[in-house]
């Protein structure tokens, strides 16, 4: 799973970070599984937990960066970005997933350890260093990326399109960490896998299979209908990159999914935008909510105090929970998530966490693209 924050501050090694029991049960969704198998040659274990809310699983395909989604960035950088974001977010699941891929690609345990240490010791080449530093600042969002952050990337030789690709890779890592951390997907098997004998035997074959799958993307223009819809301003920023289509698809599927009403989803976007301090995303969420019948004056108390007598019972759960997905410690958000899951039921809870994760990605991207101008 491509991996992300909670800007979760922990002073213990990542494998010792407190992690609750998963609040979801793995399920089956044959259509989703077919799609995942066609893309990855297997069903990623995380995807089974998303069977009830397939757009989350399909986002793994849409943002399978190594397969023709990136024009400017080398594919093998995506897992390093994911590793940084997941390490910074204390996401044991994504961290283990990225380590597994890096080990499969032939990196030894000590080499990965050095890679992590080098992140701290500034031993990377300037370009890679700038990219990984940006990924970390992007994930923390405290504050949202600024022109200073962009300037470092430009000085390292990245053009505007490459900066956008870095931001989307970091952005999806941010979202993926939330998909995994909030429901506490069990990381133990992934953590143990690299040291199993069969993995050691199969590593050269795996490395070859993974590398064979790497394919650079080609520039492509958005179709006119893709340039409209929720958060169109963000998708249009990516016009010319294959990632624009991925972004459009995931936002559209999340918005169209019937598990939660659009109004609830709009509220989640608005709360995350307010919490992160992204006026562009807040404006867009306000527009979407107005189209669903919630006028700006009715939205105001919700955004000021995360409550309003106008909210329905689902929204009363969703609104404060959305705020908690911005910065968190894994075990405390997981305990909260279990309560919310109990209140809403697994399918609706899944959609809520999916939309909150997507909102965290979208708001960070909107701020980054704004800073690029």
């Amino acid at each position: 799973m491509a991996a992300m924050p909670g800007t979760a501050i922990q002073d213990v090694p990542l494998q010792d970070v407190e992690w609750e029991e998963c609040c979801l049960q793995p399920g089956r969704n044959p259509e989703l599984e077919r799609e995942l198998r066609a893309e990855f040659g297997m069903v990623p274990p995380a995807a089974r937990y998303f069977a009830d809310c397939p757009w989350i699983g399909r986002s793994l395909v849409a943002f399978h960066f190594e397969r023709g989604r990136l024009v400017h960035l080398p594919a093998d950088l995506t897992d390093r970005i994911g590793l940084v974001v997941s390490q910074d977010s204390s996401c044991r699941y994504c961290y283990a997933a990225h380590r597994l891929i890096l080990r499969s690609l032939g990196l030894s345990e000590s080499r990965i350890r050095r890679l992590e240490q080098d992140l701290l010791a500034a031993d990377h080449a300037p370009r890679e260093r700038a990219i990984l530093d940006f990924a970390r600042a992007f994930s923390r969002a405290s504050p949202l990326p600024t022109q200073d952050d962009i300037r470092s990337l430009r000085q390292a030789g990245l053009d505007e399109a490459a900066v956008k690709e870095v931001a989307v890779v970091a952005g999806y890592s941010v979202a993926a960490c939330r998909f995994s951390t909030l429901p506490a997907l069990p990381p133990q098997r992934l953590e143990a896998l690299p040291d199993r004998w069969f993995m050691r035997v199969a590593r050269p074959l795996l490395a070859r299979a993974i590398r064979r799958g790497f394919r650079p993307g080609r520039p492509e223009r958005l179709a006119p209908e893709q340039a409209a819809g929720p958060f169109a301003f963000l998708v249009r920023e990516l016009d010319g990159l294959p990632l624009a289509r991925s972004m459009r698809q995931v936002i559209d599927e999340a918005w169209a999914s019937p598990l939660l009403p659009r109004r609830t989803k709009g509220l989640v976007f608005a709360v995350v935008a307010r919490g992160l301090g992204c006026p562009l995303s807040e404006q867009e969420a306000t527009r979407l909510l107005a189209a669903e019948g919630l006028e700006p004056q009715a939205l105001r108390p919700v955004l000021e105090h995360l409550a309003s007598p106008d909210l329905d019972p689902t929204e009363r759960e969703a609104v404060p929970f959305a705020r908690e997905t911005i910065w968190y410690r894994p075990a405390s958000i997981q305990r909260r998530a279990r309560e919310v899951c109990g209140q809403l039921g697994a399918p609706r809870f899944l959609e809520l966490l999916g939309v909150a994760a997507l909102a965290n990605m979208v708001c960070r991207l909107a701020a980054t693209f704004h800073a690029l101008r």
């Binding site: 800007t7 501050i9 922990q10 002073d11 213990v12 350890r113 240490q117 701290l120 010791a121 500034a122 970390r136 600042a137 923390r140 405290s142 504050p143 307010r274 919490g275 992160l276 301090g277 955004l303 000021e304 105090h305 995360l306 409550a307 309003s308 007598p309 909210l311 009363r316 705020r323 910065w327």
Partner: protein, 259 residues
């Protein structure tokens, strides 16, 4: 024959040297890994006492000297009658009682996204919105004050059961713009917010005795609060160092069902 012996001896010497260098390299690598690991741990621990961005800046280039203006909500709490209490209790009991108090107050503050900035004797200075942007910092701070009150009630029951005196606390809250940064001497620096908001919160805390209540907040904070907080208005009070009388409100509770 002589050449073969010479080459053999040279090979043995070279192998020995290579073995020593390899051993030394491994030892150095192990020491480096241990050092980096403790650095990592230190950096993560530091992130609990200062914003991560600041910790990164310190790690990258030393101590930054510039501060920045930030809107923060300050909570100042102090134990009422602490001096008399400290004279009545044995030192080890006093320390134990205080530690229990701090642990509970810290949990209440942390649960509402506040950060304890400094402990001043028996006083607690906590900040909301100083580390990460937080548009809900005012509500968070008042919820924290209510959680502190509840935690103290529970602690007092425990103290009473052990035959120890009850604790009473005064809490002052204020929202305003202060300067955040690393403050102190070259030998010792702390991340702190200095300026108006901290002074006002401390002065308002002092008023709790006069108004015989345990939590007071200023009008600047009250204006930003969720209307479901149950507040009681007091006449504006003169505060030392503040030019105009400051309207203050007692915090009576929160009407959760009001939404």
């Amino acid at each position: 024959m002589k050449l073969a012996v010479f080459l053999g001896a040279a090979a043995v010497v070279l192998a020995g040297a290579w073995w020593r260098v390899r051993g030394e390299t491994l030892r150095l690598r192990a020491r480096l890994e241990a050092a980096v690991e403790s650095l990592e741990r230190l950096q993560r621990s530091l992130a609990r006492v200062a914003p991560e961005q600041l910790v990164d800046r310190i790690a990258a280039g030393g101590l930054p000297t510039r501060g920045e203006r930030k809107e923060v909500t300050v909570l100042f709490a102090d134990i009422v009658g602490f001096t008399a209490l400290s004279e009545r209790l044995e030192p080890h009991v006093l320390v134990e009682v205080l530690n229990g108090y701090f642990a509970r107050m810290n949990r209440a503050i942390d649960a509402h996204r506040g950060h304890v900035s400094t402990l001043i004797g028996d006083g607690i200075l906590a900040l909301f919105g100083a580390f990460e942007p937080n548009p809900w910092q005012g509500d968070d701070a008042v919820h924290a004050a209510l959680a502190m009150r509840a935690a103290l009630d529970e602690y007092n029951r425990e103290l009473e059961n052990r035959g120890l005196p009850r604790l009473a606390v005064g809490i002052g809250l204020h929202r305003g713009v202060g300067v955040a940064g690393l403050v102190g001497s070259p030998e010792r620096k702390d991340f702190a917010v200095v300026g108006g908001p901290v002074n006002v919160a401390a002065r308002v805390q002092g008023l709790t005795r006069r108004y015989e209540t345990d939590a007071l907040l200023t009008e600047d904070l009250q204006r930003t609060l969720d209307p479901r907080f149950l507040l009681r208005r007091f006449p504006p009070a003169e505060l030392r160092g503040i030019s105009r009388p400051v309207p203050v409100f007692a915090v009576d509770g929160f009407a959760a069902s009001g939404a």
